[in-house]
Symmetry: C2
Subunit: 208 residues, 2 copies
């Protein structure tokens, strides 16, 4: 693993590769070429090779990539070998949907704690998880939870973010429409649903 800096875009594609591999017919051929993988995922084959080459020699020339080995390799790179526990902050409409969302399983991530500010929701048990007060966020460090999903109103987002950072959280998936200020060693990934939707009309044909 020569240590050039790996582009963020590459990291973002790795889960896509992983999911593609998981849905690949496991029986039959044990190997897959960059071209085959590229076709399934709708990217270019040099892209696949370049992405994977950042992490050392994974494939074998003339053959391709061993499917099982590649899956394991990507999981190791992304640190998805053992199940990661995540905290969900905000049990509103979106929060409730995210808690039930099944798409995290592929990536060995599991929501194991839920926090709320609304006293009427605190204490309720949902999906076997007891909703806690946001003041309990400080306990995340000793519980070994270092990833958080933020699904609360914009107004409180920075306050809660500060609490999360204090509690040792190193990665935040931000569904709020606000910019979150955080130290460089904390990774924030933003999902701005409103903005994503607002872009669409621009691309509509002029008549519509």
């Amino acid at each position: 693993m020569r240590y050039h800096k790996v582009p963020d875009e590459t990291i973002r594609r790795l889960p896509v590769y992983l999911r593609g591999l998981c849905s690949f017919p496991n029986d039959g051929s044990r190997s897959i070429s960059s071209q085959q993988l590229a076709e399934v995922l709708h990217v270019k084959s040099p892209q696949v090779r370049k992405d994977l080459s950042y992490f050392g020699d994974i494939g074998t020339p003339g053959v391709g990539y061993d499917i099982q080995k590649l899956k394991k390799h990507i999981r190791t790179i992304l640190r998805l070998n053992n199940t990661h526990c995540a905290a969900l902050i905000g049990y509103g409409n979106l929060g409730a949907a995210l808690l039930k969302y099944t798409g995290f399983k592929t990536f060995c991530v599991e929501i194991s704690a839920v926090f709320e500010i609304n006293p009427r929701k605190i204490g309720r048990v949902v999906q076997k998880i007891k909703i806690e007060d946001v003041s309990n966020i400080s306990s995340l460090r000793k519980r070994g939870i270092s990833v958080a999903i933020l699904a609360i109103p914009a107004l409180e987002s920075q306050d809660v973010t500060d609490k999360l950072i204090d509690a040792g959280v190193g990665g935040i998936l931000n569904f709020t429409p606000s910019y979150l200020s955080a130290p460089t060693n904390v990774k924030v990934v933003n999902i701005d649903i409103g903005v994503s939707l607002a872009c669409l009309p621009y691309y509509l044909p002029v008549g519509a």
Copy 2:
């Protein structure tokens, strides 16, 4: 408006600018400089100027941008002047949350139709909207709905997408974890929640 091609990234930032402007104190100063705007939105000021300059001379040198005029201008560019109606496909956990989501209002987009494949849900009325069968998607054209939000299982995503395209839909917000094949005149914006979350552990400090 000299017609150089506008980068997608610029289009994506425009809604962010718009939201920033909306939350700006309307009273007092009527103008805002690129630097002020940049500070609020956490981007660089040349970026703001460049983005806006793609669409002609909007600001006035020595003064800045007239807030009201700029808002109107961005809305015009993004075609958000009059309310856009969108169709929601899939009333599962996520779909239900999206229907209640209030973040679309800022951008004058409103969900005005809901479709489902599950017969037990069809006919129910939610948020004043009657859930329809997916076969009704073909009626979207004459109803003037050209934007769709896709929140269904991955398996059916391409089928439904084809139906949407047949019905004249020109923009799709895709929450499914699948690649959607669509003609170039149809814009697909992907939100892959699983992938976004799966990226986070990579950035955690090595001990965690």
